[in-house]
């Protein structure tokens, strides 16, 4: 090759390189797991919602400060305690250019109420929804609902036309392993649209040019590249391959901070990690005693008191966790410091409780854990196995990827499992409705208490805040005294990014790329 030609080629490369550097602003985003599905109503799970939130929008939404504000609806009013009117923006278009009208809102709310939807519990009090005109929607509730707006902020609006054309009028039946068009494609009104979807490998979001809002970001493209292995994820960040990691491993924060080109931000996350024990089964699936020890409260308390949460905090979480007494956290209606106090760590008391309950030699059980969902989830479980071994409970750990873990839990296969719970509505009702109500979809410990169920009804329909708060306090006391679950800790999340990438950290771990910038 002649030197002249070589020079030309080099110049061409330089030009291409320089131009992509200056015009395209791409954020490469990584976390340990991927969104489970793009269907916005099929799975109520953190990373899944984090992805949907960039593409889809709701009637109202939480801003950077976590307060509720308008999104697709500009204003709303309740004409009587059970009838609400929402007035929609008139300039909203879906990313395929089609206008959004009240028909789409009605369709989406009804879609989210269908049996295959994982969001039906959010809006179970909505009894009717109809379009008054093109830009006015009337929502009727079965009883006065003080947290309707909080709940609606998580119901994403889809296009009726697009859903009909692609045969996705009903949400994907995720629990049954159904595959639909909407699971791998998304079309919403949000600031970004998805142009490539390879589950667990790569998802590409491009700026939606038809978005109605004022563009505050300067991003043309987002790439979501999940990397399961913690060390690999950090290596990718430090080498510049990744721009932001929204679940930086706690053990590597010091290393990332010491790098000149990177920064770390931490905030207490709105998520509590806990263990569940099936209290209804007659016989543990993985047990050796022929009965179900978890039916006895003494056994549950023994397990509780055998867990040295401070050791987990110090060694596994490196200080970045807050030991929990209940499955909710500061900022949620109904949370108090007194409720959040744990039973003391006491191995001898635990052994005695176990012996009193009739299991002086302990028992066998399998602990199910995700290994790519929560901060150090598998390491926490491994630590718990050792701690329970000290009181004679022989725990066999089974850790697997989150999609299988959640699916098998929903399939009632867990005796003893780890789960984490966030509260998007910032109201205790959400926790009770999903985790404690008899027969609730995530109540896989099969806890059932008539007083708690009654209190949940009060939370749904009581507008007198004092009475409502009393019901919440009562319900928390019952479930706490019953040891329905074993709370572990409130998670602290850390985001690590390049110094020139600004994505505001939020306590629900949801990045809002529409407020982000790359310098």
């Amino acid at each position: 090759m002649k030197p002249k030609n070589l020079l030309k080629i080099l110049l061409a490369f330089l030009f291409v390189f320089a131009s992509t550097q200056s015009f395209a602003k791409t954020i490469k985003w990584s976390m340990q797991g991927d969104s489970l599905t793009l269907d916005p109503h099929a799975q109520n799970e953190g990373p899944t919602t984090q992805v949907s939130r960039q593409i889809y929008e709701a009637l109202v939404t939480r801003g950077l400060d976590m307060s509720i504000g308008p999104q697709l609806a500009t204003k709303w009013k309740a004409v009587d305690p059970n009838t609400w009117y929402f007035y929609l923006r008139e300039d909203v278009k879906f990313s395929n250019g089609q206008k959004m009208t009240s028909e789409d809102v009605v369709f989406s709310i009804l879609r989210a109420k269908q049996p295959t939807s994982d969001f039906k519990e959010y809006i179970s009090t909505i009894s009717g929804v109809k379009a008054i005109d093109d830009y006015t929607v009337q929502i009727k509730t079965s009883k006065p609902n003080p947290i309707l707006l909080n709940q609606l902020s998580n119901i994403f609006i889809m296009s009726k036309q697009w859903s009909t054309d692609n045969f996705v009028i009903a949400p994907q039946n995720w629990d049954a392993g159904q595959e639909t068009f909407s699971a791998t494609n998304a079309m919403g009104t949000g600031p970004f649209k998805i142009t490539l979807r390879e589950p667990n490998t790569k998802t590409v979001f491009k700026k939606n040019g038809k978005w109605w809002g004022d563009v505050e970001h300067n991003i043309t493209e987002i790439q979501l590249l999940p990397i399961k292995n913690a060390a690999t994820r950090v290596a990718a960040l430090l080498s510049g391959e990744i721009d932001i990691v929204t679940d930086a491993p706690v053990q590597d924060l010091a290393r990332i901070t010491s790098s000149a080109g990177h920064k770390v931000e931490s905030t207490p996350q709105m998520r509590t990690i806990f263990l569940g024990m099936d209290q209804a089964a007659d016989k543990l699936r993985s047990g050796n005693t022929g009965d179900n020890p978890f039916k006895k409260k003494e056994v549950r308390q023994a397990l509780y008191q055998a867990i040295d949460i401070e050791a987990i905090k110090k060694k596994v979480m490196r200080g970045l966790s807050e030991p929990a007494g209940i499955i909710t956290f500061p900022g949620v209606t109904g949370y108090t410091k007194a409720l959040d106090k744990r039973l003391p760590y006491d191995v001898d008391a635990a052994k005695k409780l176990l012996a009193d309950a009739g299991y002086p030699n302990g028992f066998d059980v399998e602990l199910r854990c995700p290994n790519d969902r929560y901060v150090n989830d598998e390491a926490i479980c491994t630590a718990v196995v050792g701690m329970l071994g000290k009181i004679g409970v022989n725990v066999n750990l089974f850790a697997q990827t989150k999609s299988k873990h959640f699916k098998e839990l929903k399939d009632d296969q867990g005796d003893f499992y780890m789960l984490g719970w966030g509260v998007p509505t910032l109201d205790s009702h959400y926790v009770f409705h999903y985790l404690y109500e008899s027969g609730a979809s995530w109540n896989k410990v099969n806890f059932s208490d008539a007083d708690v169920d009654a209190a949940i009804r009060v939370m749904e329909g009581e507008v007198d805040l004092d009475k409502r708060n009393a019901a919440i306090a009562k319900a928390w006391k019952i479930v706490r005294d019953n040891i329905a679950y074993l709370p572990l800790h409130h998670q602290v999340i850390s985001w690590a990014s390049k110094t020139n990438v600004n994505v505001p950290i939020r306590p629900n771990n949801e990045p809002l790329f529409r407020f982000s910038s790359v310098n």
Binding site: A231, A235, D252, I256, A311, I312, K315, A379, A383, G386
Partner: protein
């Protein structure tokens, strides 16, 4: 010399192999290292007071203790502890026992399968030989680690999860063994082809000795030299294959870690400064595989008549 009057020890002492052995420092050093490793791994209960497989004996507060000679180290944990408070030295020795068991069993499996197929193929010839040899050709085109991954994947599909943890070690032995047998088959077939035309074989045939006895009693001892050489090198390969599979997470379950599993678990702490969790198992694996390889090299040089 009347060999019948000599004891076994004297026979060994007078042999060429012994002479060559004491003349080779590499062989002596690697043998000593291997003996120490084997002894410590198989009698680990007497070597160390810790049992890393018993979760109730661990204390999480001991986790991440650095090696004893560093500033924060504790004398009772010579090589430090891992993220769960397990003593690294004990964990490595327990882990190397699993690695050695898997390695040996896999090589023996591959040797038995490969030699019996290679020997019969070389002896009988014809279509049978052609089929066996084409099989080895096909399998040699597939990288052995890929083959092992394939076997493991299929086993995971057909064995229920409850059984899988118990079966994992057998699956691993089978997976590694099945990926290594063609080497043995080819070598033993080539050696058999040379041997079967020798006079002692013809003589046996003439006096009516059965094929089976000729093959396994007369030919087999004469082809064992090259087979043992590739067997030794194969052992190092099998141990590394086991570590690779465990590092990829398809080997033995993390509750009974082998060397590869330990390296994988320690890998998460590479950036956070807890280097000893992955470094010591890795260096141990290197020393182990290197020693076996050196010994194999020496055996090849000694046992190969062409080099003498």
């Amino acid at each position: 010399m009347d060999s019948k009057n000599l004891t076994l020890f004297n026979r060994i002492k007078d042999s060429d192999i012994y002479f060559s052995f004491i003349k080779s420092p590499t062989a002596i050093v690697s043998t000593v290292i291997l003996i120490i490793i084997f002894f410590c791994s198989f009698f680990v209960e007497f070597v160390t007071p810790y049992n890393p497989f018993d979760p109730s004996s661990l204390s999480l507060m001991d986790a991440f203790t650095p090696p004893s000679w560093t500033e924060d180290g504790l004398a009772k944990f010579i090589l430090g502890t891992d993220g769960q408070g397990r003593d690294m030295l004990a964990t490595i020795l327990y882990g190397s026992r699993i690695s050695l068991i898997v390695g040996f069993s896999a090589v023996i499996f591959a040797l038995v399968l490969g030699v019996s197929l290679g020997l019969t193929a070389g002896y009988f010839g014809g279509k049978y030989e052609m089929i066996i040899m084409r099989f080895t050709d096909v399998q040699l085109t597939v990288p052995s680690i890929l083959m092992a991954l394939l076997v493991d994947g299929i086993a995971r599909g057909i064995i229920s999860r409850e059984l899988h943890d118990e079966m994992a070690i057998y699956v691993l032995i089978f997976a590694i063994g099945i990926s290594e047998w063609p080497q043995f088959a080819r070598v033993s077939r080539a050696a058999t082809l040379v041997e079967k035309n020798k006079d002692y074989v013809s003589a046996s045939t003439i006096i009516g000795v059965s094929n089976l006895i000729i093959m396994f009693k007369h030919i087999l001892p004469n082809i064992m030299r090259p087979v043992l050489v590739i067997g030794t090198i194969g052992l190092a390969l099998a141990i590394i294959a086991e570590a690779t599979l465990s590092f990829l997470g398809v080997g033995v379950p993390p509750t009974t870690p082998s060397l590869g599993t330990l390296i994988r678990l320690g890998n998460d702490f590479l950036f956070s400064g807890e280097w000893w969790i992955t470094f010591f198992p890795a260096i141990f694996l290197v020393i182990l595989a290197f020693s076996i390889n050196l010994l194999g090299d020496w055996m090849r040089d000694t046992l190969n008549p062409k080099l003498n």
